[in-house]
């Protein structure tokens, strides 16, 4: 346990300071649990109080976060994003979209029962799931792009966990008052008034949770019908189970676990760390400007000694995850920028320049600290990495749109009968049987022509078209938005050799979509 080269008497620490690369580094122990900003910036030592004893506990009880109300550009942006995202979530299932009599009129619908996915004018069948996979890949690359450009903007504004946590924190503020009132109430004994307040607050939590789950199921069935059935108790049990599960998860994750989800559960902050570099914008405390901290009074007495930070801890108080940004970039920081709003306000009040806490790249921070000019925001955002991500993202999007625009709504698959492979008829002709599956992806019934091509003398009839009417082409109607299976019998005159031939299906409308499938005609080889 002890370093063999350490010849100090036990219990005594080495407080001497080592100078490396012109930077003083103390030997004071710093817990690995505390992020070391110097590791990323290599500029200064953390101003942590010396720790005599490092508590090494495997379980850390949650310290409740009572974030203070704040207003400012970032807070307003957060409001806006919350409004837009929640608006999209709750309103989308109610948008109607006319698709004619053969398809549902809900704009966005995941129709699991019929295995169709509708999104406005796009209809996706299960075999086209690569479109959804492509969208997910685009979402992934979009996150890469956003992260490398503006850091954890997703975490700070748009992540459902953040949005719902924000919502629940506003509920806290609405019911219990702002930060100080909430801290007092937390510490207060369980009086009847506290019980009543908590009951009221938690019922609002439940209400929000219920509407979250309730909105989710609307995406999977016709929304107005489902609402009626739901309240009449006639909806499918899976609907009730889904609502119950989502109510529970929403209340637990948004109402009680909150920032713990981001810090302990979510893999995304870890992945994002790998995608950010010194050129990514992130919320940074400009320590070379702020340190050492001192109150306005102290600074007035001793003008040259103190930095701009007056240690008012407003940045800590407004933080929705309860961290101290002045410790440097850390996993708990979701870069929502509320500390910037708080700090700018304080700086305005005491007449110091804004931007002590700022959205800045680490590179710019270095430059600014060295007194050089910083890059313009556009140059910060437009760099090879972000441009490359944008192009990959747009490329995939373009390819998907191209595939979507050029896809055929008519398709044919052919399965020849293997048992028996061919059939001798009484007039000596040879018959083969095939199961044709004709897919009509339009929301209307369509007449289709099936043709046998490249098989001389072939006659075809089907399970619904009699042999008397056999011919090389047949006409069938395929119901709207369905696959129709047709059993086709193809007969050739005596003496035809086994060979390859083609089935061609053509839609008999102005689209004249066509699909060709090659298959084999089997015949007895001897004789």
């Amino acid at each position: 346990m002890n370093n063999p080269e350490d010849n100090r008497p036990p219990g005594e620490r080495d407080w001497s300071v080592v100078v490396e690369d012109g930077i003083a580094k103390s030997n004071q122990p710093v817990s690995g649990a505390i992020a070391d900003p110097a590791a990323t910036t290599r500029r200064h030592e953390p101003h942590e109080p010396a720790r005599e004893h490092l508590p090494e506990r495997l379980y850390e009880p949650r310290k409740a976060v009572h974030n203070k109300r704040i207003d400012g550009p970032f807070r307003r942006f957060k409001w806006l994003v919350m409004l837009v995202t929640l608006g999209i979530y709750y309103v989308t299932p109610w948008i109607r979209w006319d698709r004619g009599p053969y398809a549902p009129d809900q704009a966005v619908l995941v129709d699991l029962a019929n295995r169709r996915f509708y999104m406005f004018s796009i209809e996706i069948w299960p075999h086209e799931f690569y479109f959804v996979a492509g969208l997910l890949i685009m979402a992934g690359i979009g996150l890469f792009l956003v992260t490398s450009a503006v850091g954890r903007a997703w975490c700070g504004y748009a992540c459902p966990q953040t949005v719902w946590t924000d919502l629940f924190q506003h509920v806290d503020r609405f019911v219990d008052g702002d930060r100080n009132a909430r801290i007092r109430l937390d510490a207060a004994p369980w009086t009847w008034s506290k019980v009543a307040r908590r009951a009221f607050k938690w019922s609002i939590y439940l209400f929000i949770g219920f509407w979250t789950g309730g909105a989710w199921i609307m995406y999977f069935a016709d929304a107005p019908t489902l609402v009626q059935n739901f309240w009449r108790g006639e909806a499918a049990s899976v609907a009730y189970i889904t609502v119950a599960v989502l109510t529970l998860t929403t209340v637990t994750l948004g109402g009680f676990m909150r920032e713990q989800v981001c810090i302990y559960m979510c893999p995304w902050p870890r992945i994002q760390t790998a995608m950010m570099d010194e050129k990514s914008l992130l919320v940074t405390y400009k320590d070379w400007r702020g340190e050492p901290r001192g109150s306005v009074k102290k600074a007035a007495k001793n003008p040259d000694r103190f930095g701009d930070c007056i240690d008012c801890t407003q940045c800590v108080q407004v933080c929705p995850t309860g961290i101290d940004i002045r410790e440097g970039p850390q996993i708990g920081c979701i870069t929502c920028g509320l500390c910037i709003d708080a700090c700018d306000r304080v700086m305005d009040d005491i007449g110091r320049p804004r931007g002590l806490i700022d959205y800045a790249t680490l590179e710019d921070c270095e430059r600014e600290a060295a007194g050089e000019a910083v890059k313009s925001p556009w140059r910060t955002l437009l760099r090879p990495r972000t441009i490359a991500y944008t192009m990959i993202w747009a490329g995939i999007g373009g390819a998907l749109l191209f595939a979507l625009g050029t896809r055929s709504h008519t398709e044919l698959t052919v399965a020849p009968d293997r048992n028996p492979p061919f059939m001798l008829m009484s007039d000596g002709s040879v018959r083969n049987s095939y199961t044709l599956k004709i897919r009509n992806m339009e929301s209307r019934p369509r007449a289709m022509e099936i043709a046998v091509e490249g098989l001389p003398g072939a006659l075809m009839w089907t399970d619904t078209i009699n042999r008397d009417e056999a011919s090389a082409t047949q006409r069938v109607t395929v119901p709207a938005d369905l696959v129709r299976a047709v059993r086709a019998y193809v007969a050739v005159p005596v003496g035809t050799a086994p060979q390859q031939f083609e089935f061609r299906v053509t839609s008999l409308d102005e689209q004249r979509e066509t699909d060709v499938v090659e298959t084999r005609f089997d015949a007895p080889e001897d004789e």
Partner: protein
């Protein structure tokens, strides 16, 4: 024995044992884990009460909900039966002559028949219904029918079988053995004449004479056969027991005649109807020559 102490750097008690200077910290379990564990215990208690759990000598404890996997299966089976009941009901009431006019019902019948075929018929006729030339099981896919290929005829054959002892209405025909009746030349001539019907050999007057004297009564002058008595057609490309000279001679001298069991009584009328529809749908089914104005149907009240 135990020598518990508090480990200074971590503040955690040790378990009290020491192995060559190595001690183990007695770190408490995370609380969420512990509560989950207690929850699973509580769940297990409830489960044991509600569901079958303890194995006894011949069965397990029953559980207050009375659930069992056998019971669930039986429920699902009866639900499936009920779902099929309407189709069976309709099939029981429709005369088979009218079945092709009801497209969806015909499809249901074909699907049901395919299932019944796999259980009852594939043993002889094969899973593709192609039969076996060697064993004399007819191919049901082609358009050659010994006893008629419309739905009604197929249903009749299914119900009463062929050469089924003990059924007065069974389809029955006998080809007499001609062993010893002809000498070799006569037999060759007759074989040539029979093959000539389908263009496989040259006809000759001797064979034609023998045929006219012995065979034409049943098989017809030009070998067109006779369904009324089950005499096979000889002038087409399909030969139940082979078209080689040896096979034909064999069939003249010592004819082999197949047997099909009667299914009436073993399968219910609706299943027979479905089987007929399936066999008819295999590609060689024939239309009715004429359909009676209002065909009678014997409705089985318990389909």
């Amino acid at each position: 024995m135990a020598n518990k102490r508090i480990d200074q750097p971590t503040g955690t008690p040790t378990v009290g044992h020491e192995w060559d200077g190595i001690e183990e910290l007695d770190t408490p379990l995370p609380r969420w884990w512990l509560w989950t564990f207690y929850l699973t215990i509580a769940f297990a208690v409830g489960y044991v009460i509600a569901y079958p759990a303890w194995p006894m000598i011949d069965r397990a404890t029953e559980g207050v909900l009375g659930w069992s996997s056998r019971g669930e299966l039986a429920e699902e089976m009866s639900a499936a039966d009920q779902a099929r009941a309407t189709v069976r009901e309709q099939l029981a009431r429709i005369p088979i002559e009218r079945l092709p006019e009801d497209g969806p019902l015909m499809q249901q019948a074909v699907a049901g028949g395919a299932a019944a075929f796999r259980v009852n018929c594939v043993q002889c006729h094969g899973s593709g219904a192609a039969g076996s030339q060697e064993l004399g099981y007819p191919n049901l896919n082609d358009d050659d029918w010994l006893w008629g290929g419309d739905l009604k005829a197929i249903e009749y054959t299914l119900a009463h079988g062929i050469r089924q002892a003990g059924d007065d209405e069974t389809r029955s025909s006998v080809m007499p053995p001609f062993a010893g009746a002809f000498d070799t030349d006569q037999l060759n001539a007759l074989t040539d004449h029979v093959l000539a019907f389908s263009g496989k050999a040259e006809s000759n007057p001797v064979g034609a004479q023998i045929y006219a004297d012995n065979c034409a009564a049943c098989h017809g002058i030009r070998g067109e056969g006779d369904r009324a008595q089950g005499a096979p057609t000889l002038n087409d490309a399909i030969w139940l027991r082979g078209s080689s000279r040896e096979a034909i001679k064999q069939q003249i001298l010592n004819p082999r005649m197949g047997m099909m069991p009667k299914w009436e009584g073993r399968l219910d009328p609706v299943t027979l109807k479905m089987l007929a529809a399936y066999v008819h749908s295999l590609g060689g089914g024939e239309d009715f020559v004429e359909v009676a104005e209002d065909p009678e149907v014997a409705v089985d009240e318990q389909p």
